[in-house]
């Protein structure tokens, strides 16, 4: 009986998700993409990815990084990714930028290419 009364006056336990933001902690393993200023193209993340979600592609022709002699960088396919963060863990130069963004369901497929290429421009400007 006490349980009933306390529950009548308590806040609702659920949230109206699309209208209210979901409470996700900052520790959450969400969207992640490689920073091309740091990436050395070693392909370790591709080797360890259990979902085969990472492919190595060539850097854009107008960008060269002396630290990246092979000129390749990883692209994460978020449709395949299981967000185990093995790539983030195994990266020898800690090139992955992580976030707690989780709402990636969409009609089109997403990958990390556009986000990674943005990091180049940031680096060029700075």
């Amino acid at each position: 009986m006490r349980e009933v009364i306390s529950n009548i006056f308590s806040r609702p336990a659920t949230i109206q998700y699309p209208r209210e933001p979901a409470a996700v902690s900052s520790e959450y393993r969400g969207l992640h993409y490689p920073d091309l200023n740091k990436c050395i193209g070693c392909s370790l993340c591709m080797v360890d990815c259990p979902a085969n979600a990472i492919k190595m592609v060539k850097l854009p022709p107008d960008y060269t990084n002396p630290k990246n002699p092979r000129g390749i960088y990883p692209v994460v396919d978020y449709g395949k990714c299981v967000f185990c963060y093995q790539c983030v863990f195994v990266c020898p130069v800690k090139a992955y930028i992580t976030s707690n963004k989780f709402d990636m369901a969409d009609y089109v497929t997403h990958n990390s290419q556009a986000l990674s290429l943005k990091t180049i421009r940031k680096g060029d400007k700075g």
Partner: protein, 389 residues
């Protein structure tokens, strides 16, 4: 000759949450026999494990089961560590233990909630699931995700436990402990729950041992057996868990035993945080190749004893990994427990075994001719080689 009515319960049935089929033979309302048919959820995980590297397999095998994923990862990782001769740092062992015990609490809360729903007590289901969300949140702040911990790595863990996170865990545990005690009292005292569960699906000590049942089902029948005590792994040799045993052997005893175990897990997490050694639990480099040999690794999952047999012929990939999950024993061998009960009690008894079908089904039932029934390989059926008359 007695004539039976055969009632198929499942594989898709409102009382069951996962695809398993019980062919229940009835004489009136009384169950005369149960055929347990599995094989609806086969995914070929063991073969997939043979084709991937040692590191990738941590994530593949932890995805056998959603609820006990850290336990699967622990069993696999400790086996591989033994094979490679790697010893994880003591702090990593404690962090693994905390994650596994949190998993035990939320697993036991889940099955008790499902039991409340199965007997028609939906409010209790909602309340337990609301409080279970707090435990899931603790797992999220420690590991990074509510369900899949993915914190194990060969030779340690992937994340350190921050002091402020540990404080928050202790704070939430106070709330969880009060709620667990409350729910245990509800299960002990509620008239409806007692009527539905008491003396239903009784398993004696001899029967439980004879049919090699494991985990809470075995302990509720009065057998003190727990891998955490019998063969300590991770930090359990220092934390010294107490074995919870009940002697009634009925469905109610199995559910109450789970509440007691969840309370014991709360104590273990508190002790682990208090006695946590200092040091760096995150390994700098991962070992990627193992020598020749085979290991046998076992862990107490929330549902019972989980066994991995790992064979290596050297090199970057395992040769063979055999997984024996606790649900396999508890579901397939427990057909005798239904005999003599009413049809309405069948879902209750099945739920009290805490069935985890996705754990169990890595085996395919191969064709076997039994009277009119024919069990055929799934692939042969899909290729159209077998005609169903």
């Amino acid at each position: 000759m007695a004539k039976y009515v055969e009632v198929p319960v499942g594989p898709q049935h409102p009382a069951l949450h996962e695809p398993i089929m019980l062919r229940v033979k009835l004489d009136g309302e009384v169950v005369e026999g149960v055929d347990i048919v599995t094989g609806y959820n086969h995914r070929g995980v063991e073969k997939l494990g043979e084709k991937n590297s040692w590191v990738r397999d941590i994530y593949i095998f932890s995805r056998i089961c959603g609820i006990c994923n850290a336990v699967h990862a622990q069993t696999y990782t400790q086996g591989v560590e033994k094979l490679m001769g790697v010893e994880p740092p003591p702090r990593a062992k404690y962090i693994r233990t905390i994650v596994m015990e949190l998993e035990r609490i939320h697993s036991h809360m889940l099955i008790n909630a499902v039991m409340a729903e199965a007997i028609g007590f939906d409010t209790l289901f909602m309340l337990i699931m609301r409080d279970r969300e707090r435990v899931m949140h603790l797992k999220e702040i420690i590991t990074g995700q509510r369900v899949h911990a993915d914190i194990h790595i060969i030779g340690g863990v992937k994340r350190d436990l921050k002091p402020e996170t540990a404080e928050k865990v202790l704070r939430v545990l106070d709330y969880i402990e009060a709620r667990l005690k409350h729910y245990k009292k509800v299960f002990e005292e509620d008239y409806t729950i007692r009527k539905r569960l008491e003396d239903v699906g009784k398993i004696s000590k001899q029967e439980a041992l004879k049919h090699s049942l494991v985990g809470p089902v075995l302990r509720a029948s009065g057998v003190p057996s727990d891998v955490r005590v019998d063969d300590p792994y991770s930090a359990y040799d220092e934390l010294k868990p107490n074995i919870v045993v009940r002697h009634e052997g009925d469905s109610l005893a199995r559910m109450l035993l789970r509440w007691d175990e969840a309370l014991e897990s709360v104590r273990l997490i508190r002790a682990a945080i208090k006695n946590m050694p200092k040091g760096n639990p995150v390994p700098k480099a991962i070992k990627r190749a193992a020598g020749k040999g085979e290991v046998f690794s076992r862990v107490e999952a929330p549902r019972g004893e989980l066994i991995y047999h790992i064979v290596s012929t050297g090199g970057p990939k395992p040769y063979r990994i055999k997984v024996r999950t606790p649900s396999f024993n508890n579901i397939v061998n427990s057909g005798f427990a239904y005999i003599g009960e009413r049809l309405a009690d069948v879902p209750v008894i099945l739920t009290s075994f805490d069935p985890c079908i996705s754990c169990t089904e890595r085996v395919l039932v191969v064709d076997e001719k039994k009277g009119l029934r024919k069990w055929v390989p799934f692939m042969a059926l899909s290729r159209g080689e077998i005609r169903v008359a």
